[in-house]
Structure formats: C-alpha cells, structure tokens
Symmetry: C2
C-alpha cells in the first residue's frame, strides 16, 4: 500500500457503511454474488467459518439432548396452508416448483413440462413438514420430549438482497421440539436462546441483548418469539438467532397428539429455533475495520498464516526448512479443544501478500525471515491491532503462548464490540430526543445515527407502527433483564411499565 492510501478498504465505514460492507466481503474472498438472483456463492474462506460455527453449535445442541435428522426440501402447498398466519407470513416470497421435467419446444429451446398436480414450495422453514412427521412419531407422553434439529438450505424470495445478511437461499439450522407441557416447551424455548447467546458471545465475540419480540415482530404462527440482538458498527441491530414458543398452534395444524399418563389425549406443545449464515454477515459487521474483515479466533477459517520472507535466493532453503519445522510443531497445538489451523503462504508477490491476509481477517500473521531464524524467533502481527504493530517472539514462546494469544484476540474483539454497543446505547424518555437520536447528524453519512435506545412503550401496535413509519425504527426486543419501571410511552405518552429496545435493524 502506498502512502496515499490510508486504509485497505475504500470506502471506509464512516464514508459509506453499506458499500464498505460489500467491499470488505469482496476483499476477504469469503463470498460473492451468483448469477442466480439473490443467491450467493460461499467461497472456501467464508465456508470454513460456517463449518467451524456449525461444529460448535452442533455440539452445543447435542449437549442438550437434541438429535439431527433431515426432512424434504419441498413442502406441498396444502401443508403450508394448514396454519393461517404461517402461510400468510411466507406466501409472498416462495420459490414454487410446478413442473418435473424439461421438454424441447418447436424452436428447440427447453421449456418446463410435466405439470405437478399440486405445486411444491421450496421450504422457507419446515414447521409444517416436520410437524407432519412428528404427528406420526408421537403417540404417547413416553415419546416426549422429541428434540430434533436439521441443518439445511432454505429459500425466501427476497426482493432486496445483501450477501450473508439477506439472500434468497441461505444455510441454517432449524430446531423443532415437542413437549407434554407448556412449561417444558417454554423452558426449551429459553434454553435454546441461551445456546444462541453462548454461540454469539463466546464464539463469534458478538455481545447480544436477549429478550422477546413484540407481537408485531413475532414469527408467523408463534405464541412468543425470543431473540438475541447484536449491534453492528453502523449502530443498527442484527437479529442473531430466534427461538419460538409455538404453543399448540402447529400441533393443532399438523395433528401432533399424544396420550397423557392419565390416558387423556392432548395436543403437544412445540418450539422452533434457528440461526443462519447471516451470522457470518454479523461477525463481519461487528468486528471488521477499514482494512477488512477480522475473524474471531474460535471460528476463524485459519488461526494463523506463516509468511516466509526470502529476499535472496541463497536464503530460500533455510527459510523454507524453518517454516516447515514450525508448521509441523504447530500440529500439536490445540486451541478451544481443536487442532490449531495453520495456513502457509509462500507466494512471491511482495507487500500484497501481507495485505491479502489482513483483508481476510486472519487472527495472526507470522513472518519468518533470515533475521528471525538467526534469533530462533518469529515476527507476529495481531489482526486486532494496527498492521504495523508487530512483535518478535522466541519460536518456543510463540508456540507455547499461541492459545493464549488467540484467546486474547477473541476477548479483545468481544470487549471492543461491547464497549461500542454501550457507547451507542441511550435511555431516552423524551419524544424529541428520541427522534433526533435516530436522525443522522451528517447528511453525507445518512446511515450513521444514534444506535440503540431504551424507551418506554405502551404496548400498542399502533405506536410501534407509527414509529416504524416515521423513522424505520422497530422494537428489537423487550429485554429479559428489564427492571419494571413506571413511565410514559415515548410515542403516545400513555403509561408504560417497562422500557424496550428500539433500533434500526437489518
């Protein structure tokens, strides 16, 4: 990078956050748009983050007794129609399969043929098709609880898409459970939200606020939707996971009945909960800086890259040998209970090599040159620090301290994100202040506004909607840790018993 360019990414976050995001994703080589409308291609560097995230989350699920299974991609139209609010919520954005083969027309072009008697919808979510299976699997209270998760792709035909954050096809997991009592189902709903909190905070380094959605923001067909909300660096909220208490709505729709211990028949109480590839968008927006992505070590595609530096041909053999020896030694190092993931980049492309890895967000860059070898040391750059801020470490010390170094980065990212959220969260009881909080100060950066607000809300859908119409601000959640406090609705002034979190959101 020449002196005239100050950051690796143009524009900076402050100049144009939305465009910064696109450029950061591109520069990281994590994903790209595909020629299929609204669908993305997840490239190896991005997919590896997903694989790591999946492995961690899957372990967390299994520790609570959840088992994986797999259900059909296609949902018959008649299934979707079983729950009225559910179909209403998804009908506007469904990919519909209507034919089962292709035929040549008169011009020799291919056209759909073999019309299906009942159209199939590509699953936008699987409550109805999984509910059908549950209705067969469950006969008695002895079959409960039933705790199932599926890792799958789903399709929601989004009109405005943004890579990772909102795509027509995305990867996710959807958990579906059935219980004999509402209490147990509610406990499970909350338990899975805690799992998402654990994933977000301890693996993705994204601090979250836990709470419940307002009725208007509930999952279509749910009795209660719990969520975790995280603040991005443009101060908007990202919903990082949701857990739904479905009451007996879907059990009624799908006929999930069971015989109780008292030999009466009842509908089961069900839950569903999901998290998706949008979490990758979340971690990019939480941690990235104006030089690119910063990957939290626990889910980083690789933890460190070895960068051999050879300026003269006669140094090559020694540098190569030292690099290989270090790479070999690192195979025995474990971080977070798994082997450390080491990349090696011996391309001869000058300073661009270092910048490539900065833009990819690898936690540690380890340079190895003749001088380092002479000292039996390495030259280490941390991605969470400035790109010139490198330290020399003895080779043995580096190997021994590597897990600790990675933990330090993991924690520093979390702390930074938490401080950012705290700095941009306000408690506001005045309507005028509320409106100006969400109004950008600077016309050249219309996206930058105040952040999260804790304000009183009377509970009416009307106030909620009017605020949304005025400011594009929604109630992100009614936080669990709220203390009851008397006040007046920020919009209408009617009495309110607690404050809720308002924010602009993805």
């Amino acid at each position: 990078m020449g002196k005239q360019v100050k950051t690796a990414i143009t524009p900076t976050r402050e100049e144009n956050y939305a465009e910064w995001y696109q450029q950061v994703v591109r520069a990281s080589d994590m994903a790209e748009r595909s020629p299929v409308r609204g669908c993305m291609v997840i490239k190896p560097w991005g997919y590896a983050v997903w694989e790591n995230l999946v492995r961690e989350l899957d372990d967390l699920f299994k520790a609570t007794g959840v088992q994986n299974a797999y259900f059909p991609l296609f949902i018959p139209l008649s299934f979707l129609e079983k729950e009225a609010r559910h179909v209403e919520g998804f009908a506007k954005e469904c990919a519909v399969v209507t034919h089962h083969r292709l035929e040549k027309d008169a011009d020799g072009g291919l056209v759909p043929a073999g019309r299906l008697t009942e159209p199939l919808v590509v699953r936008p979510t699987s409550e109805t098709i999984i509910g059908d299976a549950f209705s067969k699997w469950i006969g008695s209270y002895r079959d409960l609880p039933l705790l199932i998760n599926q890792w799958a792709n789903v399709v929601r035909w989004e009109m405005r898409t943004r890579i990772f954050l909102r795509t027509s096809e995305f990867l996710w997991q959807e958990g579906h459970t059935a219980h004999a009592t509402d209490t147990e189902a509610l406990e499970r709903t909350r338990m899975m939200l805690d799992v998402y909190e654990d994933l977000s905070e301890n693996y993705l380094a994204m601090p979250v606020i836990k709470g419940r959605k307002s009725p208007a923001e509930r999952f279509p067909g749910a009795v209660d939707t719990l969520c975790i909300e995280s603040m991005m660096q443009d101060r908007k909220a990202l919903q990082a996971g949701t857990s739904h208490f479905l009451g007996q709505n879907f059990a009624r729709a799908s006929g999930i009945r069971f015989q109780t211990a008292q030999e009466t028949e009842e509908f089961a109480w069900t839950t569903s909960w999901g998290a998706s590839t949008r979490l990758i968008g979340g971690l990019i927006m939480s941690h990235g800086d104006d030089d690119g992505v910063i990957l939290p070590p626990k889910v980083a595609s690789s933890h460190l890259v070895l960068l051999p530096i050879v300026r003269k041909d006669e140094e090559a053999a020694a540098v190569k040998e030292y690099t290989q020896r270090l790479q070999h030694a690192l195979r025995d190092v474990r971080y977070n209970g798994r082997p450390v993931r080491t990349a090696v980049d011996d391309r001869d492309i000058g300073g661009a090599r270092n910048w490539d890895w900065i833009k990819k967000g690898i936690p540690l860059r380890v340079e190895i040159g003749p001088r380092d070898i002479a000292n039996d040391s390495v030259f280490v750059g941390r991605r969470d620090k400035g790109h010139r801020d490198k330290v020399s470490m003895k080779r043995e010390e580096f190997i021994a301290r590597l897990p600790e170094l990675l933990d330090e980065i993991q924690l520093s990212l979390f702390d930074r994100a938490l401080s950012f959220r705290k700095a941009h969260t306000a408690t506001i009881d005045d309507r005028g202040d509320f409106y100006s909080f969400f109004t950008p100060e600077n016309e050249e950066a219309p996206e930058i506004h105040g952040g999260f607000v804790r304000s009183h809300w009377c509970g009416s859908a009307r106030c909620e909607e009017e605020i949304k119409d005025d400011l594009a601000v929604t109630i992100r959640c009614i936080p669990f840790e709220n203390e009851p406090v008397e006040g007046k609705c920020i919009h209408c002034g009617e009495p309110s018993g607690e404050r809720v979190i308002f924010a602009k959101a993805y």
Copy 2:
C-alpha cells in the same frame, strides 16, 4: 420373540429381498417415506450414520487439499443447456421452479404467482453453476489446480423410488476440480476414486471393484467415468461412488480459460466426483441379516448400548449406579480416533428392548444385571454373531478391549461381504452359461440369480444394449486390475481383449 418366529424381520432376504429391505429400514428406525413424492425423511438413527460418514469422507477429502464451498440450489435453464449431452441426461427428471410467490385465487385457495422470466432448475448436479464460478476464479495457471467440494442436497425426479437407494431428493457431496493439464486431471479423477474405495472398504466395510464405465454408462458430458461397484446380498451391484474425467467439455461450456506459463490461453481440464446417501442403502443391503440392520462400527450411530436389567425393585439402585459408572468410564475410550458413542436404554419393556437394538444394528449390546455386578462383569452380545451368542467379560477387560472388539466386528463384516462376493462371482466364456447365470433358479424368488460375471465384451454398444434388453444386465465396469486376455465377446463372438464385469444393478 416367541418360538414360532425365527427371525425379527419378515420376510427374510431369501423370501423377498426387496420387501426385506423395506422392512429392515422400517425396523431400524433409520428413515421413512415422506408425504412428498419420492422424498425421504432421514430419522436420527439413520442421520447419525450419514453424519459419521460425512465426517470421515470430509477428512479424507481435506487430506488431499480439497476445500469446501457452497453454490446456489437453483440453476438457470440457460446454464444447463450449455453442455448438450449434460442437459439431455437430466432434462427428464428436473424439478422446475417457475414462480416466486403464492396468491389467493377467487376461491381463496393458494396458486403460484409471480412468473419468473427464466425458469430455474433445482440442481440435479452442479457442473454448470460451479463451472460459471470457476470461469471467474481462474485466470492464470497459478490459480490451478482448483479443488472444491460441496455438501448439498440435489433433486432428480425419479419415477420409481426406494428409500436411500433412489429418492427424488438426496444428500451428497460433489467435488469439482480444474487443472492445467489432462494428466493432472486424470490423476485427480483416479485419486478421488481411491478415496471412495477407502471410505467404502475401510469405513463402510463394503468391498468394491474399481474400474471405468462403458461409454453408454458414462456421466452425461464426461470423457471418462470411473466407479466403484459393490455386491449386495441379492447379488446385484450397487455403484458406491463415481469420479468423472470431464476433459475440456465443461470448461468449454462454461468458459473456464487460463493463461499458461507460456502466456498462451487454454481451457482447463476438469473433474467431478460424488457419493451420496445411497451409500447408507448400500451398507444396509451389504451387512443386514434376517434380524435387521448391522452397522459397521466406524460409522455406527452408536457403538454400544448399555441395557440395565432390573427384575426386583431392590436391585434398581445398584444396577443404575453400576450402569452410570460404566457409562462414565466409557467416555475416555476412543475408537478410530474419536470418542466411543454409548447409548443407554433403561426402558422396562422386557425382551422387546433387546430386539429393538438388534434391529437397529448396534454393534454391541451390553447387559448389566445383579449377577454381572456381583462379578464386576458385563454380558456382551455382538451384532455380527447370533443373538444368543453372548459372553461374560470382566468390566475392566471390556473397557480395555472395546476398541479391539469394534475392530473385530468391522473386519468380520468386511470379510463376510468379500467372501459373499467371491462366492457369487463367476468367469464365464459361454453364452448359454451367461444367460442361465442370470436366470433365477427358483420362481418364488425371482430376484435371486448368479451374481457378478467376468465375461468378454467386444466393446460395441449394440452387444451391451442387447444384453441389457434380454437380461436387465449391464456392464458395471471395466475393472482396473484386469489382465489383458484374448477371447470372444460373450454376445456376438467377435474378438475381445479383456473381460468386463456384468451384473444386475441398483
């Protein structure tokens, strides 16, 4: 089981193999038909086998330098049309998306709306959409080789479906690589076949024959298709994995060009290779007996189940405590580099409990009763032996020998399958013998025939087709380990330089 019933599964393999297979799958609780035509629901006990298989295969891929990525579910019609033979091969069985939302019609019913300008095909395989990405990712020989794999669901609208073996939707992996030379692409094609052989033989305990397909059996658009073929217990062949050398066909279709070191421009040489959930069907049909499924330990959903036996209430506490202590001790035991997977079943349902686990095919059943506790021992039944053939082992010895026991079962399943294949493989040079080999001896079991035949083939598509028409027998492969030997085509009598494998197939 009363004395009148001799086996847990009715009918037996000999009585009706196809029906035996359906019943074995049902009794194992591994999967079931779904209400969506031709699609299956993979239940937890079956999905766990897939998860184990995926983990092993994924490690084998990565050890050869392959990286995972993810590409869109949908393929624009125009992409599929780019390779003429390719589209011809898949056009007859495609799920076609034509609309992107649902609307209420006059009667209030939902109908597809929002017609797409270009229909989308749900991927039956991804050569064309991945080829498009490769054409953007590859510019120079320095970008090669490119070694990508995707784990995904695919859809082929099959008319006759059978669970795991042939379903409209199935799970698979598809590898796609691009190379600078044909030699390197051919080496990769062969290398991935070797990986499938490793998976089949050393993890699924399914012995395979490696070879190449005849031109008529090639993947649509490939220059050469390599495969592994395994014999099922009805002596039919199951193709357990394929690896295709695509030459420059798909590179031409998708425009995958690169600049060589000599600064000329060339099309890349590509390969693709895949294995799917049909492997689960293969292992069921390879190892299952008339009591149900037998799972090879390396991919078994669980390795062993602890079955506490309590006949009097006052024994309950001691048995429970001993079981828990054993379960705890087993947490430290590793098999095949991973923790041993232990199930516990304390249901009070009499002998049905033992039979449930036999039908599920768990490698080891471990009974724990008061007498065992008094001896500090356990009572162990191996699934590969008769259900009454159990041995008492000291607890410590059992824990110490567990990995060895599992290995013994793994090897005994492989040996049994290999002996079976050898016993039902013949070398035949006489046309009459060839025809009678494939003619069932017993009219009541029309499926049971001779098995695999090594016979001469002149190389003509006509002979191949006539044999197929007469006997429903196809050339499974031209084996690699063939020694050249002069002979005459089993069908037309023309000269032939080697024998090929003929068989009925799934």
